[in-house]
Symmetry: C2
Subunit: 430 residues, 2 copies
């Protein structure tokens, strides 16, 4: 029993092109294993004139994405446009017309997931998005299916390939953030405007999707404490190494008491831990669940081919003959979020101060009066003359609110010569 | 819409007990997320008199497993007995009666998978087995679903927790195999009769299941080159370290030309590679696929709770309202197997020989005349008097057949005082 499935494709960029090629190359295998013949009935490109996959049927190509969604012969819509507009309207219209949707658009689901999942449930069709997080890594599948009867306690992940590439380069080569980013851009690992990646926003969007699946929590990017890697310097990378750590852009979501701690920020994590060896542009997710224990998934995080493979797997799942009804949409519930000032961590602090008597006393007093105890302190690179010096300090476990207040006070001292660098040290699970 | 599912449970040992507890603890979550209420209608224990999960309904317990399968109210059968008999007859009967089966029995599926999957297909019901391989790690799910539209090139795994625990202990503590095994037994990480684990047979069974999913290949444990870790000594572990490697019981399956290379044996793998840091009783699988790239899954490999979580996820998948038809059984095809003498690898060889003139010449001649070239040679621990000495040697890439012939010749030399140790060095992917 073989079934023909006509798909409508929105977006013919890197992932879209790779998908068309993959569906052609693996057509026989998909038919043999799942009884499914997939046809790209219509495909919308954003701009005219680019080269298109040769295997597209004559007449399939259009520049109006709504034509694709409205084509009555299209059974399933694949959205690979990215961004909010017009993707949101297109996905909504497809779902309302009872066409299942497969998307790799993390931003759309992170910001408008509530509305779109509700539309999918009303229509009783699937809205699938394995390609939206961690490229080809089956993280969505794992959280949704493998953990169906388990309770997730925490997620720790490296969810952005660009920043991991840049930080790995800084760790290996010792260079500056700017130099590592420029190299990454030259090699195609970073966008011309890298803000979304470098600022942690892309990872925060992915974390929201994962937290929804893992915890049933209705969270949005603005709920995530988000800090980028722009201010990480070679001296921070070197200090991490001395502490037996590496600097990574860490995404984490975990229950602290009854509240959800949600963050994306640079962190020092143990050099021997499970996430430290995730190099280059790879992604990884460490899921800690009650029964299952700690499971690590890691692999290439981005790229046309691996995202296309994840999208194709979703198409097969949803479209194959005998495919079941979609899992009912578990309406995300509002959960208490851990206020950011209640975060508990160890902190690495790097002060830029005058090399003068009494300066250290000023620093330690600001910390001490807030009960922040110091685990180690090091004055670095004493320079000649009146150049400022770096004082590096590691705290014992402390509250974020107290540490931020102390840093704010210190940054106002007349002997402080630059903004203090603060990096959280997370070595408990990772 | 909530559905009631009555399951029949075969086996109330560690995993069975953990499953009953898990289904109770997570009942509300399963009902909310999947619309499913699971009841343990009947449960068969092997032996009377042991303590039983308190939550079993009165009258549910029996000592005749066939009663469970034949109970007309049982909708789905969970087989956790292990072994071939009576599990094979029970699973066959359940499937023939159109009852889906969820099992964690790797031996049964590795040896009689062909028959049982065919029975499942005839009846149009599911036969699921996520718990059979790597405890809670979603490896089956990943190979079956996530790679639906991709082509797997190779699998490399650490599939047995007991041997990984023993080898990790030897690597950390430097002790003997016997001492590490005794410790593992005392701590509950190894069975009283550890042959299945230690000899590589358990890992070979799991590899057969994975190869069937990844390659559609009809392979059985006897097709796998299987060697255990019994002969690994502290000197081999130390030599591995000097080579920048660690010794692991490696399971691998990969295409070499058009033939499948299938093996489970101790191997030296790169200390910095993705499998080297998999410690203790953990399991890991590295899947290399054409589009997806290299994906690593790692986590706890065994234990009642994590296997129960995998079994419960399968029950929910199969039993939930709206669950689809099972994927059609892809009849495994017979594929050419790479003859073992055609394996290509580097080899670590440790000879135990007389400390006499001409001995080295004898060794190198036996290798040289078979075109096996030597990458490094080291004579170790010269002892006083007439004690034999160890000569350790690393070959360049060579054919297994040639190396085995050379070793057989060397082992017959009058100056050879013990059986030569041979460990393959696999550093290309892992």
């Amino acid at each position: 029993m073989t079934k023909d499935l006509k798909i409508g494709l929105l977006g013919l960029g890197t992932v879209g092109g790779a998908l068309v090629r993959l569906l052609l190359t693996r057509a026989e295998q998909i038919e043999r294993a799942a009884g499914l013949r997939i046809h790209v009935k219509r495909a919308a490109a954003r701009t005219a004139g680019k080269s298109r996959p040769a295997s597209l049927a004559a007449g399939a190509l259009t520049y109006d994405p709504f034509e694709v969604v409205r084509d009555p012969e299209v059974d399933l819509v694949v959205e690979l446009l990215g961004g909010i507009n017009p993707a949101r309207a297109l996905v909504r219209e497809a779902l309302a017309a009872k066409k299942p949707v497969v998307t790799a658009n993390k931003q759309l689901l992170a910001e408008h997931g509530e509305e779109l999942f509700a539309e999918a449930e009303r229509s009783g069709v699937a809205l699938r998005f394995e390609g939206a997080v961690c490229g080809g890594l089956p993280v969505i599948r794992t959280l949704r299916d493998a953990l169906a009867a388990d309770r997730v306690a925490s997620l720790h992940g490296i969810l952005n390939g660009t920043t991991n590439h840049v930080l790995s380069r800084m760790t290996e080569g010792g260079g500056s953030f700017g130099a590592a980013l420029a190299e990454a851009q030259a090699e195609g690992y970073a966008e011309a405007d890298p803000t979304l990646d470098v600022g942690g926003f892309d990872a925060a969007q992915k974390l929201c999707l994962l937290a929804r699946l893992a915890f049933g929590a209705r969270v949005r990017p603005q709920d995530v404490l988000t800090e980028g890697i722009e201010r990480i310097g070679p001296q921070d990378v070197a200090a991490a190494r001395e502490l037996g750590c590496v600097v990574k852009l860490l995404a984490l979501a975990r229950w602290v008491g009854g509240a959800l701690d949600l963050r994306v920020h640079p962190a020092m994590i143990r050099a021997g831990g499970p996430l430290a060896s995730v190099g280059g542009a790879s992604n990884a997710l460490l899921v800690e669940a009650e029964a299952l224990g700690s499971t690590l998934l890691s692999g290439p995080g981005a790229g046309g081919a691996c995202t296309a493979a994840a999208v194709a797997a979703d198409i097969v799942d949803v479209g194959r003959p005998g495919a079941g009804a979609p899992l009912p949409f578990t309406a995300g519930r509002d959960v208490p979020l851990l206020p950011h000032d209640q975060i508990a961590a160890s902190y690495y602090l790097r002060f830029t101060v005058d090399d003068a008597p009494g300066v250290l006393a000023g620093l330690t007093a600001a910390l001490g009066k807030r009960d922040i105890s110091i685990a180690a302190l090091h004055q670095r690179e004493r320079r000649e003359g009146r150049e400022p010096v770096s004082v590096v300090l590691l705290t014992h476990r402390a509250r974020e609110g107290a540490v931020q207040a102390a840093v704010a006070e210190i940054d106002k001292l007349p002997t402080t010569r630059g903004r203090t660098q603060l990096i959280r040290v997370e070595t408990e699970k990772v």
